[in-house]
Structure formats: C-alpha cells, structure tokens
C-alpha cells in the first residue's frame, strides 16, 4: 500500500509492463481487447504510475463523451411501430 502510494506520487514504474508498453496498449486495454493477464498488468500500471494515468483518463473521458452524446438518440416510436407492422405483413 505504501509502496503503491510512493510509486504514484513519484511516477515510478511497477513490475510487469513499462510506461511505453502501457501507452502502446492503451487503446486495446480500454477496448477490452487484451488477454486477462496483460490487461491486469496494464491496469496495475495505470493504477500506480503517476505519469501514465492522465493518458488513460484523457482517452476514457473522450469515449465517455461520445457515448453520452449518442444516448439521446432512440428509435422513434412511430418508426418502431412501422417496422414491426412491416414484418407482420411479410409474415402474413
């Protein structure tokens, strides 16, 4: 715990992956595309590395903004009803 705190404070590198490796794997890490072991190592690195975690924050904030801006768009009820009615017609 204290070691983690010291590392975070001074930007030290934990064992496992380097800063360069973590930044290179950043996109795939956020996208959930890394294998479990590598993802754990990268996660740990971002948790304790003061130099790297702002990069993670920056990219996550960007993706979060895209998701939130898109959430408002739902299929209008009249379109949904029209689609289902059209399928019913094909069914008949």
């Amino acid at each position: 715990m204290i070691i983690d705190w010291v590392r975070k404070l001074f930007g030290g590198q934990p064992d496992g992956v380097t800063c360069e490796e973590s930044l290179r794997l950043l996109q795939e890490y956020i996208d959930g595309e890394l294998d479990h072991l590598t993802a754990s190592q990268v996660e740990e690195h971002f948790r304790v590395c003061k130099a790297c975690w702002p990069h993670l924050n920056f990219e996550e904030r960007f993706r979060d903004r895209l998701r939130r801006a898109s959430e408002r768009d739902c299929c209008p009820e009249e379109v949904r009803a029209r689609v289902l009615a059209a399928i019913d017609e094909v069914e008949d």
């Binding site: 996208d31 702002p54 924050n57 209008p76 689609v83 069914e91």
Partner: protein
C-alpha cells in the same frame, strides 16, 4: 414466411427474432443516423434493415452477435444507396495493418501532449455540447465513423467490427486509431474556438 412453416414454428421464429434482433432497434437507429446524418433516411434504413434481417433470419446463427449482423446489413444498404447516387468516394487511404497500432513517437497522443499543461485529463471534452459532438462524428470519413461508432458508442469487439465491415482486425484498429485522433482534434479545435480551453502554445505542441 415460408409456406412450409407451421404456426407454432412461425411464432417461435418471431419470438426469437424479437428477443435477439428487435431488442437492438435503438442501436441500429443510432448507427443509421450516424451513417446517413438525416433522420428520414435513418428511418428508412432501419425499416429496410429489419425487413432484410427478418427475411434472412434462417441464415442467422443463434447466439452470435445479432447487433453486429444488423449493423452489417444496415451499412451495406447505406453504401449501396451512396453508390447509386454516384457520390461515393474512397474517403480514407488505408494503411498497412502493421501501422494500426501506435509506434515510436505516436505512442503518446500529440493532442494530450499539447493540452497536458492546462488540461491533462481532457476535461474540455465535457464542455462540448452534444450537437457539436454528433456533428464531429458525422463529419468523419465513413470508414472511420463506422469503426468509431461501432466500438466507442456501441461497444462491439474488434472481431465483430472486422466481420461487419469486411476488413482484417488490423485495419479496424488502424481506422479506430486514426478516427479517434481526428475526432479528438476536431473537438479540441471547437473547444478552443468556443473559449473552453486556451490554445496550446508552440512550446506545448512541440513538447
């Protein structure tokens, strides 16, 4: 319906279709809207997508990702419309999949470097209104837009995006990488224009 299908079978087919395909109608609508940029065209795309999906439902493998299958149909319909209008141009220059992941100086996002002194966590993204974010997404080249929407908005894995768009996973990664960087730059430029963030100095950009 095929004439050989009996009542209970048809009912069961419709139940499965409702549970696996109809449930994604909001996502398909969002995707169609981002592709077309026009609600009327998006409405038509959604309807045609579902009609085609229903007619081809026997070819769908239960338990696979119905959402990405619907996106595939929707995008193909959209591209066909564009082609018919003879307005389609290849909008991006594809790179080798080997260039898909950042390397060398590309590992650090240059925009992060430029903004890190004033806003290291990208708070400026939150100051931009929804309409502007959506406009920026819709201005991306189609290949980038499709990849970014499928991944960042709809959460599809790379393999499903690759299958839906008919390109290798390496190309998906490349499109995501370039599309995101392009989109971030557009949003940053807008934030500067609106005074949400101070422009980076030359020293910060070169850092």
């Amino acid at each position: 319906m095929s004439g050989t299908e009996e009542g209970p079978t048809a009912v069961r087919k419709r139940e499965v279709f409702d549970a696996e395909a109809v449930v994604h109608m909001d996502a398909v609508y969002r995707f169609a809207l981002r592709l077309a940029g026009d609600p009327d065209q998006a409405n038509d795309l959604v309807q045609e997508t579902y009609l085609r999906a229903w007619r081809a439902w026997d070819q769908y493998t239960a338990g696979t990702n119905a959402k990405s299958w619907l996106f595939t149909i929707c995008r193909n319909l959209f591209l066909r419309q564009i082609e018919r209008g003879k307005r389609h141009r290849s909008t991006v220059e594809e790179r080798s999949p080997r260039e898909s992941t950042p390397s060398g100086g590309d590992i650090v996002n240059p925009l992060w470097t430029a903004t890190s002194q004033k806003d290291p966590e990208g708070s400026f993204f939150d100051s931009i209104v929804d309409d502007q974010v959506i406009h920026a997404i819709e201005e991306l080249p189609e290949e980038y837009r499709t990849a970014v929407v499928m991944s960042d908005v709809e959460g599809l894995p790379y393999a499903d995006i690759a299958e839906a768009t008919g390109v290798p996973v390496g190309t998906v990664k490349s499109r995501l990488f370039r599309g995101r960087r392009q989109l971030q730059q557009v949003l940053y430029d807008f934030a500067v224009e609106m005074g949400y963030i101070e422009p980076a100095t030359n020293e910060e950009e070169d850092a």
